[in-house]
């Protein structure tokens, strides 16, 4: 009984972690973009930071999907 509960608990923890970190490179890039946005707050207008962040992350997602979808040679 205990080992079954532990198996289910481990599966839930794995699932929860996997919600946000399916690909480490994408995760690190997104976090880096947000950190860069935070660093630019005193230097740029809010709209530029906001829309620039959205564009950068959208490019990361699109680029990651295109790279992953490349057929094997």
């Amino acid at each position: 009984m205990m080992s079954r509960l532990l198996t289910v608990a481990r599966a839930v923890v794995d699932e929860a972690l996997g919600l946000f970190v399916a690909d480490w490179r994408d995760t690190l890039l997104v976090v880096a973009v947000v950190a860069a946005a935070a660093a630019l707050v005193p230097h740029l207008a809010g709209a530029a930071i906001g829309f620039g962040t959205a564009a950068a992350i959208a490019a990361i997602v699109a680029g990651s999907a295109i790279a992953a979808g490349r057929p094997p040679h």
């Binding site: 929860a16 919600l19 970190v21 997104v30 976090v31 809010g46 709209a47 906001g50 564009a55 992953a68």
Partner: protein, 241 residues
């Protein structure tokens, strides 16, 4: 009532509900309905109770900007993950989620398990695992937008709609456009996550009504371009093979 929170929670919970329903249906049709329905109820309670207890505590005790930054970042990472997978499926680089295959696999698994508590356990585990994502969407979207009631309502409506459809049809809901839903929810979560992260950094958007559609257009445009590019490469690879 916040319709953005309601619709986002509805879409996210509907996708997860369809995946959980496939497994619960397989168990219920082969082993009877009592145990899988009890397992489903137990899993929903196991998800709802922590959200109901810790959700209001977190909302009341954490600074709004900190909450927006942290939850916004988690929503953004979550949305980006869904969107990436939806792009790959829409482009044909990976197979669409096949509810019929999932149903057949569950039947095969049940055939080799003893009858003791397998029906309860399989249903409980499926609903719990799929429900983790749904519960996260409800909590994150609701707390960051300040409309947890709207998000919870959207999630509840989705759960009941999927259960009602499933019990009525008594087959895997393989005709539900799951990947299209996942694409739309991925775009919505990426948009909302970005919006909240920037607000969490203390930056004011020019105008909410204008900014959100612009961010949505950026993600939709980039994702659509990626789907077209992935699809073109997959077809070129198939022709060359």
């Amino acid at each position: 009532m916040d319709f953005t929170a309601l619709l986002t929670a509805f879409g996210g919970c509907a996708v997860e509900g369809v995946e959980a329903l496939t497994i619960v249906l397989a168990v219920g049709i082969t082993r009877g309905w009592r145990e899988p329905l009890l397992g489903t109820l137990a899993a929903l309670l196991a998800l709802a109770v922590p959200v109901a207890i810790f959700g209001p505590y977190i909302i009341d005790h954490v600074r709004p900007t900190t909450l927006k930054l942290v939850i916004g970042l988690l929503v953004l990472l979550f949305g980006v993950r869904w969107l990436r997978k939806a792009i790959l499926r829409a482009g044909g680089a990976i197979a669409l989620h096949d509810e019929d295959a999932e149903y057949a696999a569950t039947l095969a698994d049940l055939a080799v398990r003893p009858r003791d508590w397998a029906a309860f356990a399989i249903a409980f585990k499926a609903v719990l695992l799929e429900g983790v994502e749904g519960a996260f969407i409800i909590f994150a979207v609701g707390s960051s937008s300040g409309h947890i009631g709207s998000a919870a309502l959207g999630g509840l409506v989705a759960v009941f709609a999927v259960i009602g459809l499933g019990l009525g049809v008594r087959r895997p809901l393989s005709r539900v456009p799951e990947n299209t839903l996942k694409f739309c929810v991925g775009v919505a979560l990426s948009t909302l996550g970005t919006f909240w992260v920037i607000e969490g950094l203390g930056i004011a958007w020019p105008d909410d009504v204008v900014s959100l559609p612009v961010i949505l257009a950026i993600y939709t445009g980039a994702a659509s371009l990626a789907v077209a590019t992935v699809g073109r490469r997959v077809r070129a690879g198939a022709v060359a093979a």
